[in-house]
Amino acid sequence: MTDLPKAALEAVSLAHSYGATRVLDNLSFSVAPGEIYALLGGNGAGKSTTLSLFLGLITPTNGTLRVWDHDVAADPKAAREQLAYVPESVAFYQQLSARENIDYLLTIAKAPDLSRATIDGALDAVGLARDAWDRRVGGFSKGMRQKVAIALAVARKVPVLLLDEPTSGLDPRATAEFNQLLQTTRERGVATLMVTHDLLSAAEIADRIGFLSNGRIEQEQAASGAERFDVRTLHQRYVHAGVSADEAA
């Protein structure tokens, strides 16, 4: 990752509508290499739409998206090659083992290095127990599947990670393990955009938090000091940004 771009991910004046419904309206934010950015918002705020736009699955009505300096609209293939995506419900091929899943998806992604050593190194890096590597993913917990998903990103050596509600459904211990995993990827210089409802987890791991409401970032706060974020203040901002207290809990 030499010649790092200033922004690993960048959305500029982004707008998107589904028919007459405007979901995103003048959304702008960026994520630097090695930074974890948490995008918080309620249901229908446009979080998943933002991820789909970065993935190139849909085209914005207006605005520009860049992934590692590649314009998603102009060169979606190059942009996609720079990122890995972990959906909320981490789906893998249940009949395949962790190794086989990564091998298959690396091939699909046209990854340059498909060696067994790369796959094993990635599984080792995310802390998946060795005895699970050759077990069918069908029997894995969500936390284990997330580790496989991150291992896929590690094996692909992508500089950008997109996470959709990564801690949803995880118990506190698994959440802590997952956050530790993100800490590791951050140390590798990976830029992470996570969209989430989970304020506490975001506060624990994110470098910056943006509150998405009315299709744009209503408020943004960066971590500072030992405590990083004042959760109570964050909660207030979350609620005022148009998210109900229930959703923020």
């Binding site: 789909s52 993935l55 699955l57 849909i58 293939k77 996609r80 090659e81 890995a84 995506y85 959906p87 419900s89 981490v90 789906a91 893998f92 091929y93 249940q94 009949q95 395949l96 298959y104 998806l105 091939t107 699909i108 992604a109 046209k110």
Partner: protein, 476 residues
């Protein structure tokens, strides 16, 4: 389209199928069924063939062993002929079970299989025997549907579709890979039957080109189901929706249409029954001429011509037997009528079948069955060819006996029980069935039916393009 990715998707689909016990078990059962059907069919075909050859030999022997008789008695003693089965009848017996294969040949009549079975024989798509054709036409699509209905829908339902697309896979590549895998399944389904045909060709039992075209036709048919199932899986929201759609299509195109269309054709294009035909022929014969009526204009003219030919004034003065000559003329007249009525019945059967064939455009199984029976030499046209050969032989056989009467029975004072020597019967030729060149006989129909199958496959493959676009959109 990146071929390597299509291949990899196909490989993973195959791996998933191979790891599914249900899929393996179902595949094994179908393969066992095809092998069993093939073995049973070969056995049955050989048994029937041997039996018919045996019956033919005994019938010929019995005819040749007849004692001294009046030739006209031999005309009514008649002869039986049996239709030998084609080599590929083991694969697809076609209409054989419904048309009858034994014809009793005698003078003044055209018996059995011709008109009496016409209604039944035109309903050529009834079936039920466990043959390779039945298993491949009816049961194999079920296995293909069962294995492919969830191929793409499962990816969408489980969330792996989004994961794949996020890795850069194009929807078209996914559908292409799934289709490739299930084409492989279709090939595996057809493989036991293809091996059986290859063995049959290798041992010289079946003609190579017809066997190869059978493999092609069935390959196209199974490919249609494979691509169609993947297509349905791509355009429906859930796997179970795809299954419902595919099962409905199977029931309509494989079960309902092939059974109901011949009934519709029979209702729309009527074929006279045997009794109606006999009455009609008798009526027409009466109008042509009555040999027993001295005032009948046709036979009066025939008599005048004959007397002039021999230069005599009365029939009694003829050097040959007058009654025999009248018999020959009568046979000639009835034969013309038989031919015309048979041609009319064949034409009506043809119209019925043409109507059914039209629907090959909406049910590939109809096209396949037509192509399969044509190649196996067991279609209606092959049966009609047999009947044509039989009628030509019957006419020659009866007229040869009539000629014996003309030449060997005295015209006058022949006595109370005139007979000719028994060795005469052995001079008459036996019926030898010349199997038609099925490819030449049905070239047009074959090209049409295989063309329809190829068109079906091309259209379904073409529909995968918009399906891929749609899949890309719904995955958003």
């Amino acid at each position: 389209m990146r071929i390597s990715l299509i291949g990899r998707v196909a490989r993973e689909e195959m791996r998933a199928l191979l790891r599914s016990r249900v899929a393996l078990t179902a595949g094994f059962i179908l393969a066992a069924l095809i092998v069993t059907a093939t073995l049973l069919s070969v056995e049955q075909r050989n048994a029937i063939s041997t039996a018919r050859a045996g019956y033919q030999a005994s019938s010929d022997e019995a005819f040749d062993a007849q004692p001294n008789r009046h030739p006209h008695r031999m005309v009514h003693y008649g002869q039986y002929v049996f239709r030998p089965l084609s080599a590929l009848a083991f694969f697809d017996p076609g209409v054989d079970a419904y048309t009858g294969n034994t014809v009793f040949l005698e003078g003044h009549r055209q018996n059995s299989a011709n008109f009496a079975e016409a209604r039944q024989s035109s309903l050529l798509l009834r079936f039920g025997q466990l043959t390779p054709a039945f298993v491949l036409q009816t049961l194999a699509p079920l296995l293909i549907i069962f294995l492919a209905f969830a191929s793409v829908a499962r990816e969408r339902e489980s969330g792996t579709l989004r994961l794949l697309l996020a890795q850069g896979l194009r929807p078209g590549e996914l559908i292409g890979g799934k289709a490739l895998a299930h084409l492989g399944v279709a090939a595996a389904v057809g493989l036991p039957a293809a091996i059986a045909l290859i063995i049959a060709v290798a041992v010289g039992l079946t003609p190579p080109l017809a066997s190869l075209l059978l493999v092609l036709a069935y390959g196209l048919y199974l490919a249609i189901w494979a691509v169609g199932s993947v297509l349905a899986s791509s355009v429906t929201a859930r796997g179970r929706d795809a299954l419902t759609v595919l099962m409905s299509v199977w029931m309509v195109t494989v079960v309902l249409l092939p059974r109901s269309l011949p009934e519709v054709a029979a209702a729309r294009i009527d074929i006279p029954t045997r009794i109606e035909t006999d009455v009609s022929i008798a009526r027409e014969l009466k109008s042509i001429g009555d040999s027993h009526n001295p005032d009948d204009p046709h036979f009066a003219a025939f008599k005048a011509q004959t007397l002039a030919k021999y230069g005599v004034a009365t029939a009694d003065e003829l050097p040959v037997q007058w009654r025999g000559l009248v018999g020959m003329e009568g046979e000639r007249l009835t034969s013309v009528l038989f031919d015309r009525h048979a041609s009319e019945a064949f034409a009506r059967e043809q119209s019925q079948n043409d109507l059914v064939r039209l629907f090959g455009a909406i049910s590939p199984v109809i096209s396949l069955r037509q192509a399969s029976m044509t190649l196996a030499g067991t279609d209606v046209e092959s049966h009609q060819d047999f009947l044509g050969q039989v009628e030509r032989f019957r006419y020659t056989f009866v007229q040869a006996l009539n000629l014996m009467q003309v030449q060997q029975i005295p015209n006058l004072n022949a006595g109370e029980d005139p007979r000719i020597a028994a060795h005469n019967w052995q001079t008459l030729p036996s019926f030898t069935y010349v199997a038609p060149d099925t490819l030449a006989l049905g070239a047009g129909r074959l090209a049409l039916n295989i063309g329809i199958l190829a068109l079906w496959l091309a259209v379904l493959a073409g529909l995968c393009v918009p399906a891929a676009r749609r899949l890309g959109k719904v995955s958003q």
